[in-house]
């Protein structure tokens, strides 16, 4: 596959608004997880909430998209000069030649949940303020971003649960390679809502304490929210040693069960092998792996086995969900940006909150940050319904 450059990227999550704050938290091995005091949730759990989302003001022209998810999206888009980079890219190639590929699992469903609490007592109708197209619909995130960024090329939301925004990179890459577009805004946004908090709770997959991926005593996920974006383009003449490239993507399905992976992690294995093949790399070329690492007994075990089977047990890795929580549809993009930050800062981030790495998992799990030469990393994302995606990023120099 032809490598593509991430010419601009940004992330906003519980560990900070924008790249500088995110990197500072990673360097300090700081977690953004805290006991859940969100909305009317009474569950005993921890979440990675982004502060101040409800205070974010959308421009009046984008009022039809008003909802927490799009406010978080706007907060993300306005960090790190990302939107300015998109505007300049649009000036170079034309607005029609920039695609929008974003992932989300719940979109603006929080507003729908609230609307259901305010149905008309006699007719049962939803309140007049309910916005199906602008907020509830899964596509609203991409429609919002496209309008906000003044783009007029193809746009789509990819919604495959926890691998949504990782798969967005793969779809965007194909569209660029096919000549449909010259560049793409790729990313993901998911925000806290009752559906996922109570839903994962009903599956008994949520921990009461901050999640501990790959820990012997791990007992579930901590849900987080995030907005992460990258501008993908063919590498141009302005390539320098610091430029981060997407060099491989791999996707597969489990065909096993809707909410648990096969214990041998064979779907995950296939996705990773495909990514390596696309990048024309051998397993030992990968220097760090960012695990999907949600902190559930089943996921971490399957992933540990799969990674060991493909990359061996020596490659250092960690899950950053101990810091950010599991940001669901945004996880793929958030962790891609964390990998990009890691490559530029030459820092392998620790898997925090993990106290004792499960000896049954044959991986080299980092519990402390490690500084040093880093040029090729892999990031995994696996979703409900068995949608797996593995991405490989590299430094240009």
């Amino acid at each position: 596959m032809t490598a593509l450059a991430l010419t601009s990227f940004t992330a906003t999550s519980a560990i900070g608004r924008g790249l500088a704050a995110t990197l500072a938290s990673l360097r300090a091995q700081r977690s953004g997880l805290a006991p859940c005091r969100f909305e009317t949730v009474t569950l005993a759990t921890c979440v990675g909430e982004v502060a101040g989302v409800d205070e974010v003001q959308l421009p009046r022209a984008l009022g039809e998209f008003q909802c927490r998810n799009n406010r978080l999206a706007w907060l993300g888009l306005t960090q790190d000069g990302f939107s300015a980079a998109v505007a300049e890219c649009a000036a170079r190639h034309g607005r029609k030649r920039i695609g929008v590929f974003l992932g989300t699992s719940t979109s603006g469903i929080l507003e729908t949940e609230m609307a259901y609490r305010h149905r008309d007592p006699s007719s049962g109708a939803l309140p007049r303020e309910f916005r199906y197209r602008g907020a509830h619909n899964t596509f609203s995130l991409a429609a919002f971003a496209q309008q906000a960024l003044e783009l007029s090329g193809p746009a789509v939301v990819i919604s495959t649960a926890c691998s949504s925004s990782a798969k967005a990179f793969a779809s965007a890459r194909r569209a660029i390679e096919a000549g449909v577009i010259d560049a793409a805004v790729v990313g993901g946004v998911d925000s806290l809502c009752l559906t996922t908090l109570y839903g994962f709770h009903s599956l008994q997959l949520v921990s009461r304490t901050p999640c501990r991926p790959f820990d012997t005593a791990r007992d579930g996920i901590s849900i987080g929210e995030a907005a992460a974006f990258a501008l993908l383009e063919r590498p141009g003449s302005s390539l320098d040693a610091h430029t981060v490239l997407l060099t491989g993507t791999g996707e597969s399905s489990d065909a096993y069960h809707m909410s648990s992976p096969p214990p041998d992690g064979r779907g995950a294995r296939a996705a990773m092998q495909q990514a390596l093949a696309a990048a024309a790399l051998a397993p030992e070329d990968i220097e760090y792996i960012n695990f999907h690492g949600t902190g559930t007994a089943g996921n971490d075990a399957a992933e540990g086995r799969a990674v060991a089977g493909v990359l061996g047990s020596e490659i250092p890795g960690s899950s950053t969900k101990g810091a950010t929580g599991h940001t669901l549809g945004a996880a793929g993009a958030l962790e891609a940006v964390i990998c990009a930050v890691a490559l530029q800062a030459q820092l392998m981030p620790a898997g925090i909150n993990t106290r004792e790495v499960d000896p049954a998992l044959p991986v080299r799990y980092l519990r402390e940050n490690r500084l040093g030469r880093l040029s090729r990393v892999m990031s995994n994302s696996f979703g409900f319904g068995g949608a797996n995606c593995s991405l490989i990023f590299a430094r240009a120099g």
């Binding site: 619909n137 990819i158 919604s159 569209a175 599956l203 996707e251 409900f384």
Partner: protein, 269 residues
């Protein structure tokens, strides 16, 4: 990897299920003018190929997508497990979403775990994999009313770049009140296309896609035009009509506000 010069693919198989249109042969007869469209509620068959435990947990979208997906695969003579899958829907499972929101609005927020894992937009894709054993990549897209064109675009890019066979399954189902008033999709409708990079014995037609700013094509028949406009998956009808008539032509498929997908259709037989 060699540079891609066109976004083209061969249609090897079609599946269809909609109001008063029980399968692709029935739809093709109506679209080619051989038969009049008799409007009737979409008749969803029971879910095929799923183990009984899974069968009990499925809703309308799974029954719809399995039906059209399996029909298209059989039509193409393809093992569904050999095809990558692209699912696209403007709304996923509206009935399931309604049930979840009702529970969350009540005093007792005990969600059914099955309802929760069925609420992901790729639930139908997940069940497809379980039913067919397909471990190939499966995507699940949403582009609101543009979901058919968005799915077709993704499928064509996969065919062009990965040189692989792809099954595109676009579907919509209606949702109950109170959501129905906000999103009045009248009935379920699904279409499936098996697309391949090279012509084969089963190939019906070659499709080649490009952009256009021209208006989307409408159906000549008023009733079918109302169907095309009312259900996003039925935005596929003008393209399907060309396939049914085995006619060469160019069809403008509805996409986003400023752009339409122009598809050049050239029959193989």
């Amino acid at each position: 990897m060699s540079a891609v010069s066109t976004l083209a693919a061969y249609v090897d198989g079609v599946g269809f299920l909609g109001p008063g249109l029980a399968d692709w042969p029935a739809a093709a007869r109506v679209l080619s003018g051989e038969a009049r469209w008799e409007r009737a509620p979409t008749a969803l068959p029971p879910p095929q190929c799923l183990p009984s435990a899974e069968r009990r947990r499925t809703g309308a979208p799974v029954r719809l997508t399995l039906a059209v997906g399996l029909e298209a695969s059989a039509h193409a003579g393809a093992d569904p497990a050999s095809l990558a899958a692209v699912f696209s829907s403007s709304g996923g499972d509206g009935e399931n979403c309604h049930e979840i929101c009702q529970v969350l609005a009540s005093g007792d927020r005990q969600l059914s775990p099955t309802r929760f894992h069925n609420s992901v937009h790729n639930a139908a894709a997940g069940y497809w994999g379980i039913a067919t054993g397909a471990t190939t990549a499966a995507n699940a897209l949403c582009a609101h009313d543009a979901s058919f064109a968005a799915g077709l675009l993704e499928a064509l890019c996969q065919v062009a770049v990965e040189r692989t066979g792809v099954i595109l399954i676009t579907y919509d189902t209606s949702c109950p009140e109170p959501m129905h008033s906000a999103r009045p999709i009248p009935d379920a409708c699904g279409v499936a296309l098996v697309l391949r990079p090279a012509a084969g014995a089963a190939s019906l037609a070659r499709l080649e896609a490009s952009w256009s700013a021209e208006c989307a094509d409408r159906m000549e028949d008023d009733a079918l035009e109302r169907l095309r406009a009312a259900i996003p998956a039925a935005r596929s009808l003008p393209l399907l009509a060309l396939l049914a008539r085995q006619r060469t032509g160019r069809v403008l498929v509805d996409y986003l506000d400023d752009t339409r997908l122009a598809v050049q259709v050239s029959p193989c037989r």
